[in-house]
Symmetry: C2
Subunit: 312 residues, 2 copies
Amino acid sequence: MLHSINGMGKVLIVGSIALDSVSTPFGQVEEALGGAAVYAACAASLLAEVRLVGVVGDDFPQGHLDFLAQRGVDLRGVQRIEGGKTFRWRGRYEYDMAQAKTLATDLNVFADFRPEIPPEYRDSEIVFLANIDPELQLSVLKQVEKPLLSICDTMNFWIEGKRDELLKVLSRVDLALMNDAEVRELTGHASLLKAGRAALELGPRYVVIKKGEHGAVLLSEGHYFAAPSYPLPTLRDPTGAGDSFAGGLAGFLAYTGDVQEANLRRALVIGAIMASYCCEQFSLDRLRDVTHEDLLRRYGELRDITAFGELG
Amino acid sequence: MLHSINGMGKVLIVGSIALDSVSTPFGQVEEALGGAAVYAACAASLLAEVRLVGVVGDDFPQGHLDFLAQRGVDLRGVQRIEGGKTFRWRGRYEYDMAQAKTLATDLNVFADFRPEIPPEYRDSEIVFLANIDPELQLSVLKQVEKPLLSICDTMNFWIEGKRDELLKVLSRVDLALMNDAEVRELTGHASLLKAGRAALELGPRYVVIKKGEHGAVLLSEGHYFAAPSYPLPTLRDPTGAGDSFAGGLAGFLAYTGDVQEANLRRALVIGAIMASYCCEQFSLDRLRDVTHEDLLRRYGELRDITAFGELG
């Protein structure tokens, strides 16, 4: 077991719940459990008590909800729309697996999603706003009490279409999560260091830049940390890797109750490990079985993989 | 000063000496000093005694040779072809700076380059075969005595056009240096880990994969090391970065006289630092002024940038 400082903390996760159809050079799945909030919840629930806010149609398989409930995920915030269809995404990865080609996005009930935070969720220590309309992210921030740390993800669609609202979110969250292309587009800087620093000036105390197989970077006032990715011989399906990363990070912060920079570094590494397990199989097929021992083993390996001695 | 274990070691460097015309979003230079062997020699000569083998035309400015001689680079292996023109390369980098677009390559005297290793060079501890025809790399390997470590670089042109000869080189060198695209092309594996392991099976004791701004990876039997890159706010001209990396690595190994895996890790980090200085200015304008203190400072920074604590 990992050593917890403050016992099980609580993580609020708001975002998409989906049925994904994905093909990669290694196989394919049809209407498998997916969605940013689901990947994040699956990863975080290994380490913390998760409260989920999202929406599904009445076609959403009960088995998927049962699976989340078995992991201790509180589902009182999941709206089920009678007569509605669940959000579906269809994508394909080519040989290099670096980026998905979206073949179809059917928002269905997710198009009208208005997150309502149940009163019993409002004391969550860690809040993770997955990639949704920044206006909705703002409405969630208004509904929660003062969390220890709030985290937002975003994407190019909002950077381009709802920039002002996104800037408002960034001025209010504690940690902004983006990938390298997004932070470059948001700030207009090609240098990741300059882009990250410019993103910090928009308000958040921490900026985390996800770089896929190249790891992640954590920036804060006076600090810069380069987190490795875990080297995998076979990457079967990268869908949900970024959200598993976020869920692992959020779960670890809740578990430890420590949001200082030194512990954020550990949290990024835990996130990278969750992302590595996510990519090993389609959907949540590997992630759902990850244990504390799995985390500890890869954590130790990553410490070895990145170690180099002093000079002389 | 860095602490040297065995005093100044000797590095033999074989490869191109060029006049480069480069434009980037930050400026441009015309017929500036360049070439793989020159970048490597400049970096290595901060740490070791460098012996250079290459070829120039009679149009090559004496000032460039004087600059190298002032750094203690032995130039007895540099052939000067009367009536010949020096190798010229013209390239342009766009905004993202990740890859050069070659506008012109005039091999000139380099087209008929047949490296002849002066007898007094043959006892070099470290041999760096920069990117040249693998047949020429083989001929150099035959001309040297048993070095402590031999290193070869290569490129897609040889992977595609002289695969058999390249495989022969790989079966004879101790360390194979490639970038990520090259090792994938050479081995047919998309996963960098699989590609690196497959390259190891071709013979070398070490495989180093350069990933530009994403750092570098060192593979050997039972070991995997991920070296960071040094984060730069402004990258003015990446020309020669990979060769400065190789030169720093080779120079450090000669300086320390230690080619065990733990010291190879340090050597990769020294290489990454040399590459970072190379990119800060056009041509060798920053690299030429790097001091031991500069190396030590960035080395310490990189140890901090990559550090994360144990769990619990």
